[in-house]
Point group: none
Chain length 275, copies 2
Amino acid sequence: MKDSSKRTRGRPKAWGDKDQQNTIKSLDRALEVLVALGDMGGGTLSEIAVALDQSPATVYRVLSTFQGRGFADFDEQSQVWNIGAAAFLTGSQFLRRTSLAERARPIMRELMEATGETANLGIERDGKVLFLGQVETNATIRAFFPPGTASAMHSSGIGKALLSRMDDTRQRQVLAAGKLEQFTPHTLTDPEAMIADLHTTKARGYAIDGEERNLGMRCIAAPVYNVYGEAVAGISVSGPTTRITEDRITILAQSVMEAADRLTRAIGGNGRPAG
Amino acid sequence: MKDSSKRTRGRPKAWGDKDQQNTIKSLDRALEVLVALGDMGGGTLSEIAVALDQSPATVYRVLSTFQGRGFADFDEQSQVWNIGAAAFLTGSQFLRRTSLAERARPIMRELMEATGETANLGIERDGKVLFLGQVETNATIRAFFPPGTASAMHSSGIGKALLSRMDDTRQRQVLAAGKLEQFTPHTLTDPEAMIADLHTTKARGYAIDGEERNLGMRCIAAPVYNVYGEAVAGISVSGPTTRITEDRITILAQSVMEAADRLTRAIGGNGRPAG
DNA sequence: AAAGCTATTTCATAATATGAAAAATTCAAA
DNA sequence: TTTGAATTTTTCATATTATGAAATAGCTTT
């Protein structure tokens, strides 16, 4: 049904001036109801009306309409409204779309621009970190991880960010399998030291690879979560210790975490409820 | 946020007489757009407007409004509209209700790790199997059922596991409705053959989908029971025939059944007293 | 450079969404 | 049992606003 011969047409980014007001008010309010219904995990008509400060009559009609299309369910017994199966079905079509890597691209670009360092994206695969993509800095001296590279979890920023969010069982499993090979004098090879580092990482919200894989190279990484709050990917910046200095780490980490949060939201992910 | 002291009030099942007309027209049409967008897997403005026989101007405003709340995404590059992350997020709240999916998550993960194959969770809805979630294997070749997919009962492992636990009446009802469409040479299209297969399945405790839906793909599924001993969900592993070989089936089935039992217990379910 | 698409915006108008209040019903208390 | 309070659903008059046609502005192709 799709005709791939179509390309960009039409009107540009800004004509009038700024953001026009071409949203439909009633629809917008209706969506507000649906979102609220989801956020509060169901509720009775009056609860919802009060929460949104809208007329019960309107909310009632909105919910009835949603119900007509299966976007909302109404339990006669308890008089409680809930998100319906159709909302799940339609919403799930979101997953069929572009990959993590594609969604990450613009976010990584901005991260690179904000920090001036190469931005990386990686996931865990078979106990290793698989690099899915990167956006390189313009600086002449720069880190380079070709996409498709697989490297050890324990000596990578993204790897440690992911590890820090696994439960103890999985953690030990991965660490045992990999044997904590020593790459530089800074590599953490002692399992207990590694576990301690992971605890710090988890509490801090981001991981630091301080020359643990390559001498002279630092990396700051934060985890990206899926809808179930599981850490499924990591995003990082990496560069030479001469530019990523000790005192810049905190600042850079803010950008990295912000990018990770944005990507989490872009893939429909969920904060971080999982312990 | 919920006040459990509230109970049933208000007006009953039928007052006026039959179904009243208290749906909001514009909202209903907007939902039509969203559903179409999902069904057709994205599309350009004119494609959607034509498909729905609506004014481009209106469709544009509807989509813009959805975009404002994140229910739709617009890719400037390709001028293509798609279902957005917020639709997925809100729609996913549907799962929280049963909490089945939530409880299943860790169990599915362990099942995946034990078997090395993708683990799936599904329920029956409107005579079809609705996939609620999955945990993917790390293997590069793998089965992929996006959550939200609805597929035919008779050609799915989970579907057959559920069918095998229904009484004859419901069984024939569902099978009659679906017409046993043939997907591969292995699909069971003869009702009697299907009934026989279901008897075997019930006695055995797990269902096998041997390339009945997709050539080269096998699936092993077991039912999950609620408090009344009714089969309300199914849990399965699926993968290529090259890995899920004939002689591994018995072993894998043990893991699947164990996972199903654990999930049954996790949702307060009851062994299998029913029929 | 012009013609031909397609996406946006504007605008006048009719459609319809809306809140207030009434009606219908159930729950709890007297 | 009766009464009253709470809550959902409907009706109705009205103003809001959603809507399509047509105009506008960018692209793409000729």
